[in-house]
């Protein structure tokens, strides 16, 4: 048996002899190119991280760990701290998730469990289109449509009725604000959460729905058991949305008001890590200023790296468990 296999492996006749480079040499060269490309991806990620670390050294040496907890941002006096930006990034992203998660999960459940046929494919397409709209277009729409609308119909009434009692919505309400940023972020992360949650739900075997229905569940009760099984994957989808919200730049920069101070009220302007880089990088004239902005980038990088890795592992664990069955 072994002898037969090896006899098949002997060098075939014909074209291959005429073009010996097409065989072994070609294989080697092509494999080498592919290997290089694969390695290049790994190297790129490492290089991005390394460059950010190297370029922020000046700022790290000047301010140390205190950079993360200082709330002063004074380019003239060359005093820099990241706290207002960290605060703005976290609060705007979490508010966005608060708005986006119920809607996204509802839409994902509708797509997987209820919609059928062309309704499902049209809805899927529309949600993908929502994800494809460039950030700067959301920004233009945000500045000219969303911000005035929110100010008139949400922020002003909120500040007038509850502003005295609740610091969270204290006046004066401004157009560009934390709230505007949260709403635009919610719109932008919804398609990601929806499509990942949809994929997670699709990975849950049909038999589970059928078992629930066979036991006399209503369709809604069957859906609840499916969602329960998929909960970690859905959590991963939400975290993935969080990662996107943390790093979103242009649309937020255009509607958040860009004020490097911490306000308790979400109706007032704020600033995020990504926006301060976008706004001030070309204005930064001294090496320390540039370095501080790059350290802001490093903070953003590390946060999104951790968030993305956690999310990926969660989503994959669900997909793997059910694909093996």
């Amino acid at each position: 048996m072994a002898a037969e296999v090896s006899s098949v492996r002997t060098e075939p006749q014909g074209r291959r002899f005429a073009f010996p480079w097409r065989g072994a040499v070609g294989n080697g060269v092509f494999f080498g190119l592919c290997l290089l490309a694969g390695i290049a991806v790994l190297v790129t990620l490492v290089a991005v991280i390394a460059q950010l670390v190297v370029e922020s050294r000046l700022s790290i040496e000047a301010f140390g760990i205190g950079f993360l907890t200082r709330s002063v941002w004074d380019p003239v006096a060359e005093q820099f701290g990241a706290l207002p930006f960290i605060y703005g990034t976290l609060v705007s992203s979490l508010l966005a998730l608060l708005l986006a998660v119920p809607l996204s999960l509802g839409a994902a459940v509708f797509l997987v469990e209820i919609a059928r046929g062309w309704v499902r494919s049209v809805l899927s397409f529309l949600i993908e289109a929502l994800a494809a709209v460039p950030s700067v277009v959301y920004g233009v729409w945000g500045i000219f449509v969303l911000v005035p609308w929110l100010l008139e119909h949400v922020s002003m009434p909120l500040a007038e009725t509850w502003g005295e009692a609740i610091p969270l919505v204290a006046p004066p309400a401004t157009g560009p604000s934390m709230l505007s940023a949260a709403v635009i972020l919610a719109i932008m992360v919804t398609p990601i959460i929806t499509s990942v949650a949809r994929d997670v739900l699709l990975a849950i075997p049909r038999s589970q729905r059928e078992a629930a229905l066979a036991l006399g569940s209503t369709r809604w009760e069957a859906i609840r058991t499916v969602v329960g099984t998929a909960r970690w994957g859905i959590f991963g989808a939400i975290i993935l949305g969080l990662g996107r919200a943390l790093g979103e730049t242009m649309a937020v920069t255009m509607v958040i008001g860009n004020d490097p101070s911490i306000h308790a009220s979400i109706l007032q302007p704020a600033y995020t890590l990504a926006s301060v880089i976008a706004n001030e990088f070309t204005e930064a004239t001294t090496p320390l200023y540039v370095s501080a902005l790059i350290e802001i980038g490093l903070v953003l990088l590390l946060t999104t790296l951790v968030v993305n890795i956690v999310a990926r592992l969660l989503v994959w664990s669900i997909a793997r468990r059910y694909s093996q069955q």
Binding site: R16, G26, V48, E113, W141, E248, M254, A278, F281
Partner: protein, 291 residues
Amino acid sequence: MNERRLQPSPWVERRRRIVNALGHGAVALATAMVLVPLVAVIWYTLREGIPGLTWDFFTQLPKPVGEPGGGMANAIVGSGIVVGLASIVAIPLGILAGIFISEYASARLAAAIRFVTEVMLGLPSILLGIFAYAVVVKPMGHFSAYAGAVSLAIVMLPIVIKTTEEILRLVPRHIREAGLALGIPQWVVVLRIVLRAASRGIVTGILLAVARAAGETAPLLFTALNNRFWHTTLDQPIATLPVQIFTYAVAPYEDWHRQAWAGALVLIGLVLVLSIILRLVVSRTHLEHEQ
């Protein structure tokens, strides 16, 4: 007593039915609300953008501050150039890396590269701008089209890899085995047979990556910068459509706002047309492989 328990109480039954109906209503409503912003964005962009889509918009340079008129001709061409440069690097590299993952890498290495690709997809694009600034702008001493292209290439790379690799995995194994059995060298099998079978899907990935790159603004802000005039060489600042839209939208001039909307309309049109093409291509590819 046990028999009585088995009888469902009518009240519980009614409650379950009501909850069922409410649940269905709630998720349908959520789906509708998710789509409201899409409709609103497209509606306003059409309404505000169409008046700005004049001949001048496509053929004129920007006018100096305060003077009405002018267009985004240089930005449109500039976007094409920067995205084109980025594509020259990212597309071949991405396809080769995708081939490496699906055809050559061991399971563990493939998983590692796939993971890194996913992580790169999730990186905020502005950080890639900082990277390009550090490795291109700083050594060269000035902003340039090249620097913008480097940052966009890194935006595109993971998208091309991911779609290539996913499509190659759909190509049935027996096609490869048939090729190898005929004595065709593996690299010819991959390039001429496997890649051809997957070509439509790979084109999809390329279009997707180009669409993403064409709409990216953040990484260009401090790499390609901006330019009010026609660029003459690629090692100087260059105008791009998204950056020009951003600049005009945040400026206090009515006429610039009109042009920002027009630019947004061009961008959204480009992206949506590409997505529709993609959708058609992908559904056909999947059908073919299922048959």
